[in-house]
């Protein structure tokens, strides 16, 4: 073994602007995974069949693990002594940075599938980019999570096909879910102020390129599902800036109840 020094980092030290924007971005990733994990976990014990009950619980656990990694990194970036638990359990709805899509209620099984499909399309393609991005910490989290996301997108895509090209009732339900949820798809690839700054610095991928990959996947799946791809939908946004739908408050009330009522409780 030679004692040659570590190769010099290709990237220079982060500018103050990058540092200021990385925390809200990582927090946004964390909140998004946590809220969607919580929504999926609401199905636990209520799935249409045992096998899908477990599938949703598995995906929820994948997302929860990913959320923890982001929260730990966010806590480190902030450097104010807050822990992952403080970030998850002790922030109010206006401080949450998740896009509106993931806080939408489960609805019926088709609703959950469509919400998951819209998110998986973005999530999977985002992780593919972050995996080879310049931030080593994010790249490591993405490297691990992209394998899970590859399964998620396979699972939700196949269900969209099954429901769309299934029975009259399954098609009616999946179409209704698309009509209700598609308006939340656009926010995923609409960069927040923090994302714009990080895109300029090359830390966050170009969302137009991701949108193109998402569109290609959606077109392929919807064609097989015999579903029309929604056109000209007015896109809602605000979640990434803390302007949420009324649903998030109720979700957080349940998610945070224990730590709010018994601060610091462990078991």
């Amino acid at each position: 073994m030679t004692d040659s020094p570590m190769p010099a980092q290709a990237t220079t030290a982060p500018t103050p602007e990058v540092q200021a924007n990385l925390f809200p971005f990582v927090l946004q990733l964390a909140d998004t995974s946590l809220i969607l994990a919580h929504r999926l976990s609401e199905w636990c014990g209520h799935g249409p069949i045992l096998e899908q009950d477990l599938a949703m619980a598995n995906i929820a656990l994948d997302l929860l693990g990913e959320a923890r990694s982001y929260y730990q990194y966010a806590a480190e970036l902030e450097g104010k002594g807050r822990t992952e638990d403080d970030l998850a359990y002790l922030r109010s709805a206006v401080e949450y940075r998740n896009p509106l899509l993931v806080e939408q209620p489960n609805g019926d099984f088709a609703g959950t599938i469509v919400r998951q499909f819209i998110y998986d399309c973005f999530h999977y393609h985002l992780l593919l980019q972050l995996k080879s991005g310049p931030d080593a910490h994010l790249a490591a989290i993405a490297e691990k999570s992209v394998k899970e996301a590859a399964y998620h997108i396979k699972w939700s895509s196949e269900w969209v096909i099954r429901l769309g090209d299934g029975t009259e009732e399954s098609r009616r339900r999946v179409e209704k879910a698309i009509n209700t949820l598609w308006r939340y798809a656009g926010e995923l690839t609409t960069p927040s102020a923090a994302e714009k700054a990080l895109q300029a610095a090359g830390l966050v991928p170009d969302y137009a390129a991701i949108q193109a990959q998402v569109d290609a996947h959606v077109a392929r799946v919807f064609e097989e599902a015999t579903l029309p791809v929604p056109q000209g939908v007015f896109m809602q946004k605000g979640g990434k800036d803390g302007r949420h739908s009324e649903h998030l408050g109720y979700l957080l009330a349940e998610l945070q109840y224990l730590q709010r009522t018994y601060p610091g409780l462990q078991w």
Binding site: I49, L50, E51, Q52, L54, A55, N58, Y151, K154, W155, E158, R162, T167, E169
Partner: protein, 95 residues
């Protein structure tokens, strides 16, 4: 809601150590693709396997327990079918 049940599938998993697929249980699924995904979710949560086989249960044909005497007992007194029946000469090594 249709009350029709999805067909039953038998699941076989090959573990990291094993060469053979072992029967681990059964599940319901609409088709083979879904059966494999369901098997992944139900039976490989704890790193049990590296390969999955599924077969629709209706395609498994089983022997009849009533035939047990006719099927298996005749082998009882044919101990010469086991390698242990034969003496290995001392001159043969590495057996």
């Amino acid at each position: 809601m249709s009350q029709k049940e999805w067909p039953l599938w038998e699941v076989f998993i090959r573990s990291k150590q094993g060469l053979d697929h072992k029967h681990v249980g059964s599940l319901h699924a609409a088709d083979a693709e879904m059966a494999i995904q369901n098997a992944r979710d139900v039976y490989t949560r704890r790193l049990e396997g590296v390969s999955i086989w599924v077969v629709e249960s209706k395609h498994v044909h089983a022997s009849n327990p009533d035939d047990a005497a006719a099927f298996y007992e005749p082998a009882n007194d044919k101990i010469y079918r086991h390698p242990t029946f034969y003496q290995v000469p001392d001159s043969i090594k590495h057996m």
